[in-house]
């Protein structure tokens, strides 16, 4: 059995495509992942991120391009020949094997002698803090414990690459936060290269060294969490990064790093322009609800409050402009429903994008 190399410097996806009939789930994907990196594939459901992961794992054949592990082509290998560890969304624990046998399965398949299997399983169970559950069946474990068994099973074989497919999506909010820390801890202690699929931007931001935003089978942006959070390259990436407010307008002025937009009703928004924003042309200002607040200036966007809810530290609300545009804002004080307000934002927190053909 030809097994992929256990150590590598780079994993390269070169023009990887995957079609399902006439549907192109992945279109010409190029991506390089370096050893030790934690890379998150982020995108809305159906964007092709799981397809990409399955292609890397070998559970799906690519229909175009190739996948290279250093100089070895691996997309032609079957999953059992690649030797990557994979954590499934539903964990896919073997229900008839206890925790110990589940975790030791990969080692057994590799013909590792029994005493060494026992030793390594004990080690990894200690790492994921499940030593006391070793003899239980998966059905007797809680969701978080099952999840840790799935991680243990994937990392015990010391794979060159760990693949995780939305491993936290079946957990409740509290456990999700806890396991997020656990996954980061395990990654830091083992230094294993990890590809992590998620639709949750918060998860991606907090875990990953680099985030790959995928939409409709195409990579939209690759960058560090800070780059993506602060400066999304495209409108849709910005949308995904929490810039919920999308205010169309026209560029009427430029001052250093900033442009001023006329957004109608005499209102102005000042923000940082991305590439391709021309003076006098139509553009779209994007702002997070956290950054859009009621202001006193006459240049604020006039809107009428439709709903307002208490979020602990502040109030979040939905208001509608005269043009019918929905805007999401926050406010340090309680405001009445139906109140007329003017909204504005710090120019540093507003991004201006050229209008894109959609």
């Amino acid at each position: 059995m030809t097994v992929a190399p256990t150590k590598f410097e780079t994993l390269r996806l070169e023009g990887v495509s995957r079609d399902f009939g006439t549907f192109n789930a992945l279109k010409n994907l190029d991506l390089t992942i370096r050893r030790g990196e934690f890379v998150a594939l982020l995108g809305p459901s159906g964007c092709g991120k799981t397809t990409a992961l399955n292609c890397i794992a070998g559970l799906l054949d690519v229909t175009g391009g190739r996948i290279m592990l250093d100089d070895a082509r691996i997309d032609t290998l079957r999953p059992e020949e690649r030797g990557f560890g994979m954590v499934f969304q539903n964990y896919a624990l073997f229900p008839h094997m206890n925790v110990r046998r589940n975790v030791g399965f990969g080692l057994k398949m590799r013909g590792v002698p029994k005493p060494e299997i026992d030793r390594r399983v004990d080690e990894v169970l200690a790492t994921v803090r499940l030593t006391s559950q070793a003899d239980k069946l998966p059905g007797q474990l809680s969701g978080g414990q099952q999840q840790r068994v799935a991680i243990a099973r994937a990392i015990v074989i010391a794979p060159p690459l760990v693949l995780m497919d939305e491993p936290l999506s079946n957990l409740d909010a509290k456990l999700r936060l806890e396991m997020r820390g656990e996954i980061r801890r395990i990654h830091q202690s083992l230094g294993s290269t990890t590809i992590y699929v998620t639709h949750d931007q918060e998860e991606a931001l907090s875990l990953a060294d680099r985030i790959v935003v995928i939409r409709e089978g195409v990579i939209r942006q690759v960058g560090t969490p800070a780059e993506l959070f602060g400066a999304p390259a495209h409108l849709d990436v910005a949308d995904f990064m929490g810039f919920r407010n999308r205010v169309p307008g026209r560029v009427i002025g430029r001052d250093g790093d900033f442009v001023t937009l006329d957004v109608g009703d005499g209102a102005r928004l000042v923000g940082k322009p991305r590439d391709g924003v021309d003076d006098g042309a139509a553009a779209i200002a994007m702002a997070r609800p956290d950054d859009l607040v009621p202001i006193d200036a006459a240049t604020g966007i006039p809107a009428e409050i439709e709903t307002i809810e208490y979020r602990g530290r502040e109030y979040h609300g939905l208001a509608r402009t005269a043009a019918g545009l929905e805007v999401f804002f926050s406010s340090p004080t309680a405001l009445a429903r139906g109140a007329k307000i003017r909204l504005g934002a710090d120019p540093d927190r507003v991004l201006v994008y050229p209008e894109e053909p959609r």
Binding site: P79, Y91, A92, I157
Partner: protein, 302 residues
């Protein structure tokens, strides 16, 4: 009315509530018609037959019929004759059904193939036997084709013998075995196999380590149900078999006792023995099943 709620609070739950807590409510009554039917069509005839079998036609000791059955090789060896047919047929059906079920599970036009495979169930053993007589008979297409191809020099005697009954049973019972197997196979989460594959398990190891242990309890049930059908073979043993000799199955012995010798008592005894043999096989299989993992076959509760 206003006093009622407080009064009830002191009395605790009502009788209806207590019964409901034990699973007894109006819906439970719906089981009654089934009980009536089961008693009328199964329990009473069974007990009557049991009673009858201990009252020999010619009088005498209560166990006379049983003594006669086991001392007369012509009667007693029907057990072996029937087992010799039913066990291999059931095993073969399972062995064919499992790989086909695995293939069908992955198919797009699953329903079409399932329909085709299940068609024989609608035919009934008599129609199958008739078809086999034409097709496998000395002048049938099967023999003639093989002779024309030069594979055979003289007609093959498939029908009117062991293999005729064997084939007809395989054809008649396969759909049943297959449908049950298919439902067990499709019940297993495919991500388990994928997980095993990413952990380095070859296709053979995936079947051995993951699918087989999860399937075995279901296959044991399938085996029992298919076996019971094969064991009670009567029409095909007569029509495409050699009912006087190699395919003189136990149901033929019972039939002859009842309707040729008019000895209902002996026939009942034979039927009881038949039931006992089936029960032994089923108990052995189900006993073995208790040693297996029988929990959920999904990946996790999520």
């Amino acid at each position: 009315m206003s006093a009622a709620p407080s009064a009830r609070r002191t009395e605790g739950p009502t009788l209806t509530q207590k019964l409901r807590a034990r699973g007894l409510d109006g819906v439970t009554l719906l089981v009654l018609p089934c009980v009536v039917v089961a008693v009328a069509l199964f329990v009473y005839p069974f007990l009557y037959g049991l009673w009858l079998s201990f009252h020999p036609k010619a009088g005498g000791d209560a166990l006379t019929n049983y003594e006669r059955f086991f001392s007369d090789p012509f009667l007693s060896k029907t057990i072996w004759t029937t087992l010799r047919l039913a066990l291999p047929v059931t095993l073969l059906n399972l062995l064919i059904a499992v790989p086909i079920a695995f293939r069908v599970r992955l198919m797009k036009h699953q329903r079409l193939l399932t329909t085709i495979l299940v068609l024989p169930i609608t035919l009934g053993t008599v129609l199958i036997a008739e078809g086999m007589l034409f097709y496998f008979g000395p002048q049938g297409w099967f023999t003639r084709s093989l002779m024309w191809l030069g594979v055979l020099s003289h007609p093959l005697h498939i029908v009117h013998g062991y293999w005729g009954v064997f084939l007809s049973l395989v054809i008649a019972i396969f759909p049943f075995t297959f449908l049950l197997t298919l439902s067990y196979v499709t019940g297993i989460d495919p991500s388990l196999e994928q997980a095993a594959a990413t952990l380095g398990a070859s296709p053979a190891a995936r079947f051995r380590e993951v699918y087989l242990p999860l399937l075995l309890p279901g296959l044991a049930i399938t085996f029992c149900l298919s076996f019971v059908q094969a064991f009670s073979v009567l029409p095909s043993a007569v029509l495409v078999g050699d009912p006087a000799n190699t395919t003189r199955v136990i149901s033929i012995a019972a039939y002859q006792a009842a309707f040729e010798e008019y000895d209902y008592s002996l026939a009942s005894a034979i039927a009881m023995i038949m039931g006992a043999v089936q029960l032994v096989v089923v108990v052995v299989i189900l006993g073995g099943r208790t040693l297996l993992y029988r929990g959920p076959v999904a990946a996790a509760k999520g």
